[in-house]
């Protein structure tokens, strides 16, 4: 029981980090970013390289990796996505191309075998009869902290308000003097950095392989559909819902069936309430 509670919370926090970035860039810039999973993979691999090859201490590796992936996100938006933004089709394809390229580069450099990323903290806590590794608790704490930070940033800074303004109406925001193009880049960088942080936090207890970005992308999509495309609170609620139901199914039924949960959730949401929990009704 305690195990379900804690494991579910950890998974939900990670899912929420992924889904928030995914929904943010869609809500603000209308970019459906299929490269989102590759930011997650890049985060994990960069930390691996910095610690294993460059012998940096782990905390330093994390501090370098996150902004680096953020910068990569900005570069992708500026160079590849921006010229094609007129057509949603082209944006989907170009982000997919980025995802493939990242996977291929990782495959060429690191090969297909799984890599081990060291834990930031090594201890294991014994709590109410179950063992829980400190790394999982750190992932939970880190996730919550980052999400809280994001919320504060969005609600209480001028830049955050500017992002919200562009999300509501890009043209009107432009008339008010908000450079929406620059906001798009910023949001892309932000969402890439959050995804990279999620990748780093789970890397010690997940298999780090070049194709590790695909499943998180699928999960992020499921969460965002359940919560409502473009809504940040929606994606957090969706992450909790999916994280817990997956954990419960994994513990009570079997790991196999937990894969089906997200598909079933997407299917049910689209049939019953296509706008999700917090999505705008008007767009349907």
């Amino acid at each position: 029981m305690v195990q379900i509670l804690v494991y579910g919370a950890v998974i939900s926090a990670i899912y929420a980090m992924l889904a928030v970035g995914f929904t943010l860039i869609f809500g603000v810039a209308r970019i459906l970013n299929l490269a989102h999973g590759s930011f997650y993979a890049l985060g994990a691999y960069l930390v691996y390289t910095f610690t294993a090859n460059a012998n940096l201490p782990l905390w330093a590796a994390c501090l370098i990796a996150v902004p680096l992936v953020g910068a990569f996100g900005v570069a992708v938006e500026r160079i590849l996505v921006r010229p094609l933004r007129r057509s949603m089709l082209a944006v989907l394809l170009i982000t997919l191309a980025v995802a493939l390229m990242v996977e291929q580069v990782l495959l060429l450099i690191f090969g297909s075998e799984a890599r081990n990323v060291p834990s930031l903290v090594d201890a294991t806590y014994h709590f109410a009869g179950v063992d829980i590794s400190a790394q999982r608790l750190l992932a939970l704490g880190g996730g919550v902290t980052i999400l809280a930070g994001l919320w504060l940033f969005m609600q209480h800074t001028r830049l955050g308000s500017a992002i919200l303004a562009v999300a509501q109406d890009a043209e009107a925001a432009q008339y008010m003097g908000i450079p929406s193009d620059r906001i798009y880049s910023l949001v892309m960088g932000l969402s890439a950095a959050i995804a990279a942080a999620a990748g780093i936090l789970v890397a010690p207890f997940q298999t780090v392989i070049p194709s590790m970005g695909l499943l998180p992308l699928v999960k992020a999509f499921a969460i965002v559909v359940v919560g409502g495309l473009g809504s940040i609170p929606g994606s957090i609620v969706g992450a909790l819902l999916l994280g817990y139901s997956e954990t419960i199914v994994a513990f009570e039924v079997s790991i196999e069936w937990s894969q089906i949960v997200s598909v079933a959730a997407v299917f049910a949401t689209l049939v019953i309430r296509p706008s999700g929990f917090f999505g705008k009704r008007a767009s349907f």
Partner: protein, 319 residues
């Protein structure tokens, strides 16, 4: 965007199109005799399977503009149907050609019904996830699917390689012809109109959802048929048939050929398959080069390569 307009002056162009199609078919029919090696015939058979997949992808996504990022879902469904029937129940392989399209069509309804009613990116994402999840499921439920190794020991539909090549060629030609005819009919015009402006189509009283789902089902059935053909040719099916990479390869072939033209993607599929085989040395970098090619085409030749070439040639031919 080019549309077919049935005016008398353009009718002659139609016959040029027919002639070119026949010529292309003839070239493909004599190709095995020119090279006369089992290896080349094998490569060409696989290329023709890709041609079926690319044409069927283009029929739905190229015409209506709803990007399908998980075409491999239908291919895998068709191939596994063929595998199950043939390996587990020892059904005559010819039945696969009937059963695979049906199963793929059922899959397309399952994905299309909830997602194609909606506007927005739901369809593209649902297809991508659907294929990824199916690939996972084949590995998870390995008791029935053989896991990573897949199902082995399928019977070929036709025993000789040359015979199989001609079977595939005939089916490819038939599918291309039918899809092209539908695309040029009022049906196809409605599909293209949906790409242009869905809301206006709805306002004009067209049941947009029906047309989208029906065209997806046709596309899926063709892809499933291609999947069964491929499975009986390789004598093996594996989870890779559901892989996202396969869907992407098909999309790249469509873009190289020229999106929305049906015949272009077939050319793109054959061209890229033959190129891939001749560049075997770089096999590690193949996907990487494919992706670069896609980026290049998206930025510099949004019309593709093969269809615009043909348009230019046709203008030269008919003054």
């Amino acid at each position: 965007m080019r549309m077919f307009v049935l005016s008398p002056s353009k009718m002659s162009m139609f016959s040029v199109d027919w002639l070119a199609g026949l010529l292309a078919l003839l070239v493909l029919a004599v190709a095995p005799w020119l090279f006369a090696s089992g290896y080349v015939i094998g490569v060409m058979t696989v290329a023709l399977c890709f041609g079926i997949w690319a044409a069927s992808w283009d029929f739905m996504s190229g015409l209506t503009g709803r990007e399908n990022f998980g075409h491999s879902l239908f291919i895998g469904a068709g191939a596994y149907t063929a595998g199950f029937l043939n390996v587990n129940f020892a059904v005559n392989p010819w039945w696969s050609l009937l059963a695979a399209p049906v199963v793929a069509a059922v899959f397309s309804l399952a994905v299309g019904f909830p997602t194609l009613r909606l506007r927005g990116p739901y369809f593209a994402l649902a297809m991508l996830s659907g294929a990824a999840v199916m690939q996972n499921l084949t590995i998870i439920f390995s008791r029935y699917t053989g896991g990573q190794d897949g199902l082995n020991g399928l019977d070929p539909i036709v025993d000789s390689t040359l015979g199989y090549y001609y079977l595939t060629l005939v089916l490819l030609a038939a599918i291309t012809l039918v899809l092209k005819l539908i695309a040029a009919s009022p049906w196809g015009i409605i599909l293209r109109a949906i790409r242009g402006d869905e809301a206006s189509c709805q306002a004009a009283g067209i049941n947009v959802t029906f047309y989208k789902i029906a065209s997806l089902t046709i596309s899926a059935a063709c892809a499933g048929l291609g999947g069964a053909l491929y499975a009986h040719y390789q004598l093996q099916v594996g989870p890779d048939l559901f892989a996202v990479v396969l869907s992407i390869n098909i999309i790249i072939m469509v873009y190289v050929g020229g999106i929305g033209t049906i015949y272009g993607p077939v050319g793109g599929a054959i061209l890229l398959n033959v190129l891939t085989e001749s560049l075997r040395v770089f096999s590690e970098y193949r996907l990487w080069m494919y992706t670069l090619l896609l980026v290049f085409i998206l930025f510099f030749m949004p019309q593709g390569l093969i269809a615009p070439l043909w348009w230019r040639l046709r203008r030269r031919l008919s003054p």
